[in-house]
């Protein structure tokens, strides 16, 4: 944070040292809806000083927010608050003589003072000596969509407990710092030095499943540092080789604690957390409240704590080359080797009751995991120019990665004393061995568990794509091609019990059923208890074709199609048949008018009868930007998207969805077509005009309207975002009050609402007015 402040102050300082100031290209700011491009303003002339042409701007403002409705939803989608801001700042310095420290410098920043996103960028170039870039970006992320991970507790439960915030809400900040320096960029040897940091920290919530599901408070602190060193060698005028060494180091720290959600008091007054789901009959138990007190024979938590410290080191070496030295042949290639090593201890403590197993306390002292990946990538591309207009392009990709991992778990479980009635009680303390006979049921796990989980995931991909590209003239070209890929996935695992000890009473339970007892009356189980080796091989063939047309300088059209077939799939939502159709056109019939249209369709299917997977994403749109006369411009756009993702699913539910039948491969389940069908309309327009020379006014509006249908297995589940509307009208006025000074007043309106019933949680509707007043100084 301190560094971000320094960086921001430095940029501002840089801005102010070169006064006076002006408008630069910078970021969006001034109250326009995010969808609307700001009508381009005439670039200011700037000033010439010291051999540089300088343009600069700074805009100070005050947004004022008035919100009605759901605060969590507003913060999730918009999150603009009242307070003073440096809305935008920019600086551009172009050398006129190329004799200074740099030939070009540009710096811009936005959002300082409390916006959810803000950033700063700096680039300084001395074309023959160095290219330096730096950026800082901060992203305040608030997420609380209350249907997400919500158990949707029914209003028939006793008591009724609504979950009004998402159990997985978070309020995190991500800060990204990037610095890059290229030395001698146009020389025979150039050097690349990069450093970047990505840090995410903040408050988040999660949940844990031990008997019932408890809400966890989970402060996060993840840091990712990356160092890159590279050398580029221009072997000759047409051949270059590059080597880069990339070192990444990741730290992921999280501490999870029980977060109070709906604590209830046991007889005697001790509070216990019964968790998020409240369903009569089974969760947290059949009758959670007896009289006015918590039922002690219920799944519940007194405490939970988990500490994770994940450390990952990822060195990657990469070699690239490119050459067009050979007549008619261009080649390019990449080879990279990456070997990641990750380690993490696990410290976990559960104190409560799991009625299914009778466990009262669980701890995992000394548990530890190690995982790695080894990734080898080779890419090679060649373009053979058969003639000036005809070329053959071949691309070969080879990738092999392996992800082995080991988790050594040491777990100790404590139970109530054997004198407590099964399945145990929250009122009874955990019995400590030796001395007290524990309460073991038939489903109780080992008292002491030492297991090793070995996992391996691998993939080997070979892909070749060949294309024949022909430019019929400078006005048109066509291409046809064929892509073949061979993928071998490998997923296998073994789970081994090193020494699982089942103490008396009832030691012959679980994996110890039928095994001989130890002299002390306990039972020890060792050996393999789970394994699988699951390779999948997929061959895929794809035909490609495309065309581009530029019949006139102001008209461009291009279209391409793909049709692919795979002989196998890894899982159910992977297609055997893929088709893509894409076309787009842009036309500028007048210098002041630009229109465009696009068509983008993806069709996927797997007709295997038990799966019946079908997906499509059909997208159509057009847009226009016009500035028919000075001081007047407008733009508009419309886009329609139809997204469908269907496949048969098997499920269990107390109420069968319409059309359900017995699952083909499991009689205990029902099968039905799981459909998701989304129609999204997007529309946007904005208009800008100058009623008088010194006033610019803008009006705009954008809307995303969603409707559709989906399989709903829980009648309490609302359609939610599948029947929603997000609208963002704007109005703004800029008044040039003096030379280089512009006063701005803007109004943004945000409205989000869902059309279906709310469900057993808080409504997700808001509307907000954000008025922004600012002063911009630019030259």
């Amino acid at each position: 944070m301190k560094f971000a402040v320094i960086f921001g102050i430095a940029l501002l300082f840089l801005t102010l040292t070169v006064s006076p100031v002006a408008q630069g290209p910078g970021q969006m700011t001034d109250g326009s809806p995010v969808s609307s491009p700001i009508p381009s303003k005439e670039a200011p002339e700037g000033i010439e000083r010291g051999g540089y042409r300088i343009q600069q701007s700074v805009e100070l403002g005050l947004p004022v927010t008035d919100l009605t409705g759901s605060v969590p939803m507003y913060d999730t989608l918009v999150n603009l608050e009242t307070g003073p801001r440096i809305l935008e700042q920019s600086l551009s310095m172009q050398s006129l003589t190329q004799d200074g420290l740099f030939d070009s410098l540009s710096a811009s920043s936005f959002g300082w003072g409390g916006d959810p996103s803000n950033g700063a960028r700096l680039r300084a170039v001395k074309y023959r000596l160095f290219n330096f870039t730096a950026s800082f970006r901060r992203d305040h992320n608030f997420f609380d969509y209350d249907l997400f991970a919500n158990p949707l507790n029914p209003p028939t439960a006793t008591p009724v407990v609504n979950v009004n915030n998402s159990p997985h809400a978070y309020y995190n900040r991500r800060r990204m710092y990037d610095f890059g320096l290229t030395l001698f960029p146009q020389q025979r040897f150039s050097i690349l030095l990069d450093y970047s940091r990505n840090r995410m920290e903040g408050t988040s919530f999660s949940s844990i499943h031990d008997g019932t599901d408890a809400l966890l408070y989970q402060p996060l602190d993840n840091t990712f540092d990356q160092y890159r060193f590279g050398v580029s060698w221009k072997v000759n005028r047409h051949t270059t080789a590059n080597f880069t060494e990339n070192l990444q180091y990741s730290k992921g720290d999280s501490n999870d604690f029980l977060s109070p959600f709906n604590p209830v008091a046991l007889p005697g007054g001790t509070p216990v957390e019964f968790g998020l789901p409240w369903f009569n009959g089974f969760s947290p138990c059949a009758t959670p409240i007896i009289g006015a007190a918590a039922n002690p024979v219920c799944n519940g938590y007194f405490a939970y704590h988990r500490v994770q410290r994940i450390r990952t080191m990822i060195p990657t070496e990469q070699l690239n080359f490119q050459s067009s030295s050979l007549k008619k042949l261009d080649v390019t290639g990449t080879f990279s080797y990456s070997n990641a090593q990750s380690t993490s201890p696990l410290g976990e403590l559960f104190n409560g009751l799991i009625t299914r197993t009778g466990e009262r306390q669980i701890s995992t002292p000394g548990s530890h995991s190690r995982a790695s990946w080894i990734s080898v990538v080779t890419n090679f591309g060649a373009t053979y120019h058969i003639s000036d207009r005809l070329r053959l392009v071949d691309t070969f990709r080879f990738r092999n990665y392996q992800v082995p991992g080991i988790f050594d778990v040491l777990q100790s479980s404590l139970f109530n004393a054997g004198t407590v009635a099964p399945p145990g009680s929250l009122l009874g303390p955990p019995a400590v061995l030796p001395g007290t006979a524990p309460l073991h049921g038939t489903s109780s796990p080992a008292d002491v568990l030492s297991n090793t989980y070995n996992r391996f995931l691998g993939q080997n991909t070979k892909e070749n794509e060949v294309q024949l590209q022909y430019d019929t003239s400078q006005y048109a070209g066509v291409n046809i091609g064929y892509r073949y890929s061979h993928v071998r996935d490998h997923n296998d695992w073994t789970s081994i019990a090193n020494s699982d000890i089942f103490y008396s009473p009832n030691p012959n339970r679980g994996d110890c059923t039928g095994l001989p007892l130890n002299p002390d009356g306990s039972c020890t189980f060792s050996g393999l208890f789970d394994s699988e080796d699951d390779p999948v091989i997929i061959n895929e063939h794809t035909a490609l074709a495309g065309i581009w047309l530029r019949p006139k300088q102001d008209l461009r059209i291009n279209a391409d199609v793909e049709d692919g077939y795979a002989d196998n799939v890894r899982w159910r939502t992977q297609p055997r048949h893929v088709q893509r159709y894409r076309a787009q056109a842009t036309y500028t019939p007048r210098a002041w008018l630009n229109v465009g249209a696009n068509f983008n369709v993806v069709e996927q299917k797997n007709n295997t009868s038990d799966i019946a997977y079908r997906m499509h994403n059909r997208n159509f749109g057009f847009n226009a930007v016009a500035a028919p006369k000075e001081g007047f411009s407008f733009d508009l756009a419309y886009n329609y998207s139809a997204y469908l993702q269907n496949s048969n699913i098997c499920y269990i539910g107390t109420a069968a969805a319409s059309g359900s039948f017995t699952c083909l491969y499991d009689d205990a389940l029902l099968e039905v077509l799981g459909n998701y069908n989304n129609h999204t309309h997007f529309g946007e327009f904005s208009v800008s005009f100058k009623p008088v020379q010194w006033i610019t006014a803008r009006l705009g509006y954008s809307i995303t309207d969603v409707n559709g249908s989906t399989l709903i297995l829980d009648p309490l589940q609302p359609l939610g975002p599948l029947a929603s509307r997000f609208q963002q009208p704007i109005g703004a006025i800029d008044v040039e009050i003096a030379r280089n000074f512009t006063l701005h007043a803007g109004w943004n309106y945000y409205q989000y609402g869902e059309g279906s019933f709310v469900g057993p949680t808080a409504p997700r509707y808001f509307h907000a007015n954000v008025a922004t007043f600012s002063l911009k100084y630019a030259f």
């Binding site: 840089l14 290209p25 540009s106 730096a134 599901d213 997007f682 829980d714």
Partner: protein
């Protein structure tokens, strides 16, 4: 990290120090004022020397005028003064002219025939008359050697008739960096209008706010990965460059994340669904894979996961859905 911070602080202090800037500006001003005609003559001489070396190479380029030789940029300026002074000086290309390279003729070809023909347009390379590939070949003479550009000749953009000049304007750029025709996001939206609509959805990556840009994830100059995507270390999905917590490696990988990528569950640009999910209900997304099949290579849901009870939100329990180091069911 400490070294990185120190490095950045020193650089910024150097750049931001008023003393440095004042000195720098004064120094440049003096030099600008004192630029002599002999400097210009020497510059022209260097340029012509370079021109001789380059003449043969340029004659092999598409659109070259046979027999033409170099005349030097100052000759061009005699007639094209406006474009020279307003749209060439101050550009990166002009900055390199000082070294005797990248004059007008490095891009437009030797100009002697054009001059002798009284400005005959047919005797000079005009980019409007070249195909996108031919025009791009001229740019790539110098620009192909960078890591960023080395795949351009086989890029999707070029295949679709979008050459260098589709996005860059050497003479009329309004952007301070990379000679882009206009600000990057608007430039991309000019053709990719679908993506513009996607970035306006309620849940989206904040491209329109300027927090990230298209080129953070895509390399417009081509890559070996589909959709011109960049990739993270080990050629894993580019998403993990920012969403590092999903990168792994994990002991218990959620297999599709590694094998298929993030887009098996998420739509990357924007979505009408929370967390950029492809469908509105998490449990439907899960069940579309985790239902029994003949091959049985995906674990199916247990028979007690009643969908109209607490189990309707799979990720309420399976919280570590991208991968876990401690639990094969992604509970922790």
């Amino acid at each position: 990290m400490r070294i990185g911070k120190l490095f950045c602080r020193v650089t910024l202090l150097l750049l931001c120090s008023p003393a440095v800037i004042q000195t720098l500006l004064a120094d440049n001003g003096d030099k600008a004022a004192g630029k002599s005609t002999s400097d210009v003559a020497a510059q022209n001489a260097r340029h012509q020397e370079h021109g001789k070396k380059a003449a043969k190479q340029n004659s092999e380029m598409p659109g070259a005028v046979p027999g033409a030789t170099y005349v030097g940029s100052d000759t061009c300026k005699n007639c094209h003064d406006e474009i020279y002074s307003k749209h060439f000086e101050g550009t990166p290309h002009f900055a390199l002219l000082k070294g005797g390279e990248h004059g007008c003729e490095d891009c437009h070809g030797p100009g002697s025939a054009h001059v002798q023909g009284g400005g005959d347009k047919a005797k000079i390379v005009r980019f409007s008359q070249l195909s996108p590939e031919q025009a791009s070949q001229r740019c790539l003479q110098c620009h192909e050697s960078t890591l960023e550009n080395l795949n351009f000749m086989r890029s999707v953009h070029l295949k679709n008739g979008v050459g260098c000049l589709g996005c860059h304007s050497p003479h009329h750029s309004t952007e301070p960096d990379h000679l882009l025709k206009t600000q990057q996001t608007q430039l991309c939206y000019g053709c990719h209008a679908t993506q513009k609509a996607e970035f306006d959805r309620p849940y989206r990556h904040r491209v329109d706010l300027g927090l990230i840009s298209c080129s953070d994830c895509h390399n417009p100059h081509g890559s070996f990965v589909g959709r011109q995507l960049r990739s993270a270390a080990g050629q894993f999905p580019v998403c993990t460059n920012c969403h590092t917590e999903t990168m792994g490696p994990f002991v218990f990988e959620h297999v599709p994340v590694k094998q298929e990528g993030c887009t098996s569950c998420h739509t990357p640009h924007g979505s009408t669904n929370p967390r950029l999910l492809r469908v509105s209900q998490v449990n439907l997304l899960c069940l579309q894979c985790h239902s029994p099949t003949a091959s049985g290579n995906v674990p199916q849901i247990p028979s007690f996961h009643t969908q109209n009870a607490k189990y309707q939100a799979c990720t309420m329990c399976h919280t570590q859905i991208h991968g876990s180091n401690f639990d094969e069911f992604f509970f922790r």
